[in-house]
Each structure stands twice: as C-alpha cells, then as structure tokens.
Symmetry: none
Subunit: 233 residues, 4 copies
C-alpha cells in the first residue's frame, strides 16, 4: 500500500479510493468486486504571528480546556490546562546524538515528522485573574513555539513550549506537560525500486516514548496540594 501510494499523487480521498479499487478488480483474476473505505482527519496550519506556518499543523480535534482548583484552610490553588491538542510538523525536526547501547535500533535523523498530543497544566501564583485571556495567551505561545522552533528532540520542544508560557505571563509559576511521541517512520521503498524522499510514512502506534516534564519558574512559591493526584490512580 505504501509503494502504491508513492506511484501517483494521492489527491482527494475519493480519487485514491477509486485508484485502489480499480487496481484490485483489474489486476487480479479471482477478484470481482472491491470496496475501499477511507477516513481522513482535518488538519489546519498553526498561525505564528498571524500567518499560517509552512510546515506545522494542528489537528481539529477533541481538545479540552481544563481547570483544577484545590481549596483548603491555608490556601487555594488554581491549575489551568488543556488536553489532547494534536500537533504535527512535516519538517524542521531532527533527533540525533542520543545515548546508544547494544539495544538501540533507532537511526539518527536530521529530518523527520514530529507529532504529539499535548496535555499541559499550569499553576497560577494567584486565584484572581482574567482566566480566559490567560488561557488564550498560554495556548497561543505554546502552539507558536511548537511551530517555529527547529526541534532537536521532543524533549527540547516540550521545554521551549513551557518556557514560552512562563516568559509571557508572570502569573504562571509552573507547568507540567505530557507528550506522547506519535512516531512516523519513513517507509523503505527500495524493495520496490523507488526512492522515498520523506513522502510516504508509516504510523507506528506501539511501542512509543512518553515525554513528560515539570518546569518551574525561579520565583515559584510552594505547590502545596495543588498537584495531589485526582484521580489517585
């Protein structure tokens, strides 16, 4: 299927379904009918400084805005956040220079697809803010950093996104981010006598790396029970 996709422009999903269905019916004698069903997700370009970015995208999906509040006798804590913000870069992402041992199979690369589903939460210093404006600004700067930074690793990208959120808003004193690496591997088309100049990728669901970190502003007050897990498990 990967080699077949590479042989001609994919085009609209109806066109590609027709090309694939005709292949089965015309090229194999025992096949008299083929049904092809394709589903395609929606992607939009990320805006950076008001302009659509050339190779960074956001999936239009079930993104959630979240808020977690802890009230107790000595104080109150507010944690804002978002879940399932799916993003992808078709260029501007590398991964090399990591520690290798005898179990390492991953090849270093200077050019790959980078994709993740961002879950982020950030702790505020206070409990009285313009929550809507604060949320929009944090979300925007994280998207812009993801799009604009040349990624050396998902770890570095995560850190730069968190740093961006802290730098643009002194009311944010801590971020925690969780970003699964949604691996896209270049398919080897040499067995089919084709080159594959980063055009046809295979999504591999398992195993994957889950990149997570906690980033504290230098001025951050103690977190108290703000992060006590709920659900516990």
């Amino acid at each position: 299927m990967f080699a077949f996709a590479r042989e001609a422009p994919v085009g609209e999903i109806e066109q590609f379904a027709l090309r694939l269905g005709r292949h089965f019916v015309q090229d194999f004698e025992p096949i008299t009918r083929a049904r092809v069903h394709i589903e395609s997700a929606q992607w939009e370009r990320i805006e950076v400084d008001g302009a659509p970015h050339p190779h960074s995208f956001r999936q239009v999906g079930t993104e959630l805005r979240t808020a977690t509040v802890v009230c107790d006798a000595p104080g109150e804590w507010v944690v804002s956040g978002l879940e399932n913000l799916i993003v992808l870069k078709t260029s501007g992402s590398a991964f090399a220079g990591y520690i290798e041992d005898k179990y390492t199979t991953l090849e270093p690369t200077e050019e790959r697809i980078l994709s993740t589903a961002v879950t982020a939460r950030w702790r505020h210093a206070g409990t009285d803010r313009d929550w809507g404006a604060s949320f929009d600004a944090a979300r925007t700067v994280m998207l812009e950093r993801f799009a604009a930074i040349h990624s050396l690793s998902l770890q570095q990208t995560l850190y730069e996104m968190a740093k961006g959120a802290i730098e643009q808003d002194q009311g944010i004193v801590e971020l925690r981010l969780s970003m699964p690496n949604r691996h896209h591997f270049v398919v080897d088309l040499e067995p089919f006598g084709m080159e594959n100049p980063n055009e046809i990728f295979r999504v591999e669901d398992r195993p994957y790396g889950l990149i997570e970190a906690q980033i504290l502003a230098e001025s951050a007050p103690p977190a108290g029970p703000a992060w006590d897990p709920y659900p516990l498990l």
Copy 2:
C-alpha cells in the same frame, strides 16, 4: 449541583471551580480540603450565509471526512460522507404532537435544546467530479439547514438537511443519515425554590433515540452494491 449552578453566573471554568470548592470547605465542618476539576469542550457558531448564527453551534471535534468506493465488473460507485459532526441549537427547536400511549412519559415542548452527532453518507451519480468542492458544498448546506430551520423534530431536521444537499447538487442522488438524539432536559429547580427559564440542563446519556433515514432523489439510478455493508456487522 444544578441548583448551585443556577444561583450565580457560571463564568470561566476556573471561577466556577473556585466557587464550588469554597462551598464545600466553608459550609461543611468535616471537609478540610476540596479539589474541583472541570473540563470544557470547544463550540463555535455555525455560519449561515457568512454570518455566525445566534443560537446554533458546532463542536470543534474529531469530525472525519469519509469516502467509500465499490468497483466491480458492471460499474463503479462512489459514496462520500462525514462522521461525528457534533451540532447543537440552544433555541429554535420543538417536539410535540407525537403519538402517545400508556408508556409515554416525554412532555411536549415548544422550546428545547437540540443536539446530535451527524453521520452522513451520500451517493454520487458519477465517478468523475471535483470531490473537494462537492464535499464542502454538501457539508455547508447541511450545517446551514440545521442552523436556520425551526426544528419541529430531529426527524424533520434530518430530512431538511438531506433535501438541502440534493437540491444544491444534481450529482448527489441519495443520502443516508444517522443522528442520535443527545437529550438535554431542563432541570426542575422548584424543590430549591428557583425558576429555571431554560438555563440549567441535564444531559441524559441513556436511553436515547437514534434517528436514521434514507433520502433518494427522484432521478436516482439503482444503488447496486454501493451500500453493501462493510464492516458486515
């Protein structure tokens, strides 16, 4: 929780979480700490003739575009579609005059919330079209009809959406739509001494009605194997 929500403006989710958390800690002696976590989905106004509609919304979610093609010896069929287009009207929806028997408990209403997740598929007369433009036009007219029509029932709304798609594109000869009724019931706040002028609703997940229909253009050619189910079950 419903009465609590009614007592004051809900506001941003951080504000509402603080109000709820403080209520537990301040009003109940055994409670020393409360954690409140809220998730909110994103909704956008549906555009009708280029302008945002006053009470019709689309959830920004995991909508998919689909294509199903059947190729066999005598012919080819193309079915385009979409899945999981979540829409909601906060006004302009009634349900009354239905058949009642001794098991009926639903009360007739002239004003309710109407919400559904649209799955739609439409069969084309031919196999050579501008698939992208055709998809956009069909999706737009179905959204506009959902928004603009005063709904007398989800059944009538479904029919008008399908009719709209057929009327604006002679290349579409049949539609099938599946629309679960996502019930929003007005909460009775009289036990709390409050009125509830269509402000606080309870979403009831089960049981629900699944509204489905097949709409054929008068000129529709035979469907052949276009709809043979896949998966079978």
Copy 3:
C-alpha cells in the same frame, strides 16, 4: 420502556426483543416495521470461600451477547450474535500460497500467532426456540473450531467456525462473521546476535486485514429485511 419491562418477565434477550418489536408493529397504525437490537453483558457470581455468592457479581469482560429482531407485517426474523470475543493461537496457524504481486511484502509462514476479535451474528429459521441453549451451543462450537483446527488462513478458520455452527443446529440458517487480523510479527533479533524461535513478537496495529464473510445453509429461507443495517451507516 421501564414500565414495559416491568409488565412481564424479561427472559432471554431474543424473547424481550420480540415482545418489544411486536408491541410497536401491532399497537401503532403508522408503524409497519420495527427493528429491536439488544446487547447484554456477561456477569458471574463472585466466589466467597469457594461458593458462589447469592447477590454479588463480577462482570466478565467486554464480550457482548446480542439479539436483533425484525417484526413486520409478512413475518418476523431473529438474529442472535456475539461481539468482541478475543481469541489467540500461539501455534497451529500458517499463511502461505496467497496471490503475490509487486506490492506484496508479507513473507509466507508455516507457524505464526493468530489473533482476532470475533463479531458473529446468526439468523434463525424460526422465532420460537430455547434461545439460551442455542446461544451457548453456537458459541461453544465456534470456540472449539477456532482452537482445534490447524489454521491455513484466518479466512479458512472463519469458514470452519461458521460451518461448525450450522452443522450442530439446524435452526441456524445463516451466519455473518467479522474478524480483524490482529497481526503479531516475529521480531528480527539477528542485529543483536540472537535467534528468535517464535518467542518475541511485535503487535502491529496498522495496517491490518479485516476478514469478513456470509455463510448460508443450503436450506436457508430468504432473509427478508433481517440484515437491513441498523445503524444505517
């Protein structure tokens, strides 16, 4: 629906579906056909000191038993079934001799892991049976055939399972099965200087083959509207 359920013993799901379908067709003039679909989860008694407890239960997984009934003027049809019965063979499964073309990458094998999640539905000749015993017998023979047959392909295994169900019960006249191939590939450990005698496997979620078929007993009467899809899409 709650009051309707209270009026008479619920019994097996096929019986309850027939009672509900007949109610709609017989008691409402505009209704000419009713389809009722029921899914039931499995529960087992919790054992306490080795004895089954009188009123405490544990749910047995995600396998569902299903019943679909169609009632209309000329007749009635009953389709029983199950969903999400997950099975796996660690041996006794081969796949070779398939048609190859220039796009084929799969290697033939005489020994592999075979795994699938069975969805099965079967049509009965009549509407008056011991539904519980019939269900148990059909499920048992399909499991036994999956286990005992040396698999040459998932397609052949599917066919043998369906044939087994028809052979042991003349009241079953048609089966439809849908079985996704949950691929387990032997990991190549040669780069690590190790052999891998079918011990370490990688599960690959995408792409996968969805194997489906319809098997008719020779004596099968016409299916009428028994399989009309619901949901439509």
Copy 4:
C-alpha cells in the same frame, strides 16, 4: 526492548519491571531514577471437549493486572495492582445518614444496587516475593470482602476491601483504590399504576461520585517516590 525481553525469562510482570528499571539506572550515567509500568491482560485456555487446549486462548475481558516499579540510587519500590474489575451487588447495600444541605436531592435508602469498576494499587514492603501468589491472594480477598460485607456506603466498602488485603499479607503496606459509583436508580412506576419492588433500574452515567482513598498499614515504611505520578497528568 524486544532483544532485552529475549535475553532472560520474562517471568511475572513485577520481576520484568525490576529487571528493566535496574538496567536503566545501572547502565546509563545520566539516569538516576527509572519508573517502569506494565499492564498485562488475562488469557484463559479455550476448552475443547472439556479439556483446556494446549495453544488456543480466549482473552478474559478488560481487567488488567498492573505493576509499577521505581528504581533509584537509595532504593527500589514495587506497586502491584489491577484495573477495571467491574463488580455489582443486587442486594446488601444501603446509603443513609449522610450530611444533607439545601442542594441535596438524593434519598436515603436501606436497599440499593451497588456497582463500581475497581482500580487498585498496593505497595509492597520488599522487592523479592512470589508476585503471582501475592497478586491472586490480594485480588481474591478484595472480591470476597466486596461480596460478603453489608455495604453502608461505597466508602466503607472500599475501606474494608483495603483492610482485607493488608490483613492477609504483611508484605503489603499501603493500598490506593479508585472506585466510581455506577448509579442504578429505582424507576418510579407509579405513573403507570405499578409497584417497582427493586426490579427495574435506570443506570445514570452523569453526574457520578468518584470514591478514592489511601490506606496505610501501621507498619508502613516511607513511600519515597513510589507514587510519583506517571503519566504526570
């Protein structure tokens, strides 16, 4: 990871998690702490003619057995657990005497259905045990307590289940449980002129109570980083 798995017998999931965690901490200078989390599904042999088949299996539902291991310089921690153990009592469950305020609508009851999906994790004092036997004993006693105890609340039931696990195994020093209340409400059939002696129930998905607690043995040593959340969010 595949080559690593091949090098030695995998054994119980706690053992394999320890082997993997130690590898990271001992063999890589920059790594000072490793957390390994493993989930394993349950499989049973398919019976053929009353005897378990040598190489054919059926997956037993969605219940998972879990193991979480933390290895760092000063020590190692092992947390065993299970997820999605769904249980239900049709009798022997009450809920009354709770704090009421003006927002309370729930009626006290001496007889109700109680149902939940248990997620449980328990911390061991040591790292060298018969993990399989320990898991089976903890799971059995929690199921037995759920079944046998007359429930006064889901909170009390949760506590008794945890207490049972600690009492029967001195190697378990802490449990955390998370149990959502799957509400089953008696349907009021008086509008239909019927009594409903706890026969017909309505399952209400939202809102629901999520009951969680942490239970420590008196002798429990400090938890160190055993419970540091992963995923973080």
